[in-house]
Amino acid sequence: MNILVCLKQILDPEIPAREFRVNPAKREAERGNANLVTNIFCENALETALQFRETLSETKITVLSFGASTAEDSLRKALAMKADAAALVINDKTSNPDPLTVTQVLAAAIRKLGSFDLIMVGREAGDWGAGQTAGLLAEELKMPCVSFVDRIEPMNGGLRLNRQTDSGSEVLEAQTPLVVSITNDEHNVPRIPKVRDVMMSYRQPLTQWTLADLGYQLEDDKYYQVVDLSIPQKESRCEFVTGDTLDERVESLAKRITEVTSLL
């Protein structure tokens, strides 16, 4: 089984809210003191792939990222977690490509890397949270797609997938090739690589391509544009209800709640 896992490097979403800034002119988040980390759902996807390989030994896992040259760190960490191969498409053109551009670049890289039975992506990224990559990638590669999967097992040449739904979970059987989006679960918490493996990962080969290597030309304003970006302003007010007795104050509070909720 040949598995490809897509990884995205993002600004650490765990930074304190007071330190989060956006650049209105560039319409993007400012890095500030935030670390760059691998998107957690992408790490869940890698962990799911690694667990799958533990049940089906003849499995090769390749990790792929499209991003700034710093995304190499995410790929090195994946190699330290025991992915077999890594490839990076360096994005030196735009800091926030739209979802269709991302998937077209990923699809071009996947075609260049070879043939894959299973392509795994995180359900959404912790920066923009668009959650489009799996579906668009499936369309670009003409493959079926299953979303919100948290566990994958081999089964009679195919796959058995556990998928989270609004009302519980579904167990599905599917044939490859297949694109899946992975969500988090207690079973796919990413493993922490050993220090030695982290050091060794920097000696492993890592394929690097530019957009030109893939024959891909970025087009401006192809899909949609971010025309404004701002942090929502929270407005809070404190009111004291009045009344001589507790009953009057409760009555007054109930009346005020009715007034406020009727405005919503």
Partner: protein, 129 residues
């Protein structure tokens, strides 16, 4: 003026999320001066169609009867939406809708995004799903 379309896929019926979707669709349709159409594709389609008919201008029920399957659902929605050529297609935030939305947008040549706030008309360029 092309319609605004809402798609109801969730087996939860015409719940609060679906009502919110209908409300967002209605506001957008009013801004565009167009009609609001609902496409219902669910195991509970007839019951949902009756309820949603009270708040939209037109209801299209895709009769299947089986459980949700992404490929047939996508195929049906692509056919119906291609015929309607809507100004915008709105989906809820349920699992099935999130799965279908980007793929439908790709097939219709439109764009898709995740919106949890206000939808406003700023100009007209093409379809959005």
């Amino acid at each position: 003026m092309n319609d605004v379309v809402i798609c109801l896929l969730s087996p939860a019926g015409f719940d609060r999320a679906a009502q919110g979707l209908a409300g967002a669709g209605r506001r957008l349709a009013e801004q565009l001066g167009s009609q609001l159409t609902a496409i219902v594709l669910s195991q509970q389609s007839p019951a949902i169609a009756q309820e949603v008919a009270t708040v939209v201008d037109k209801v299209i029920v895709v009769v299947d009867g089986g459980e949700y399957q992404p490929e047939p659902a996508l195929s049906a929605l692509t056919k119906v939406c291609s015929r309607l050529s809507p100004a915008a297609i709105l989906f809820g935030n349920d699992t099935y809708s999130q799965e279908v939305t980007p793929r439908l947008a790709h097939r219709l040549g439109g764009a898709t995004d995740d919106a949890d706030g206000e939808l406003r008309v700023c100009g007209r360029r093409g379809q959005e799903a």
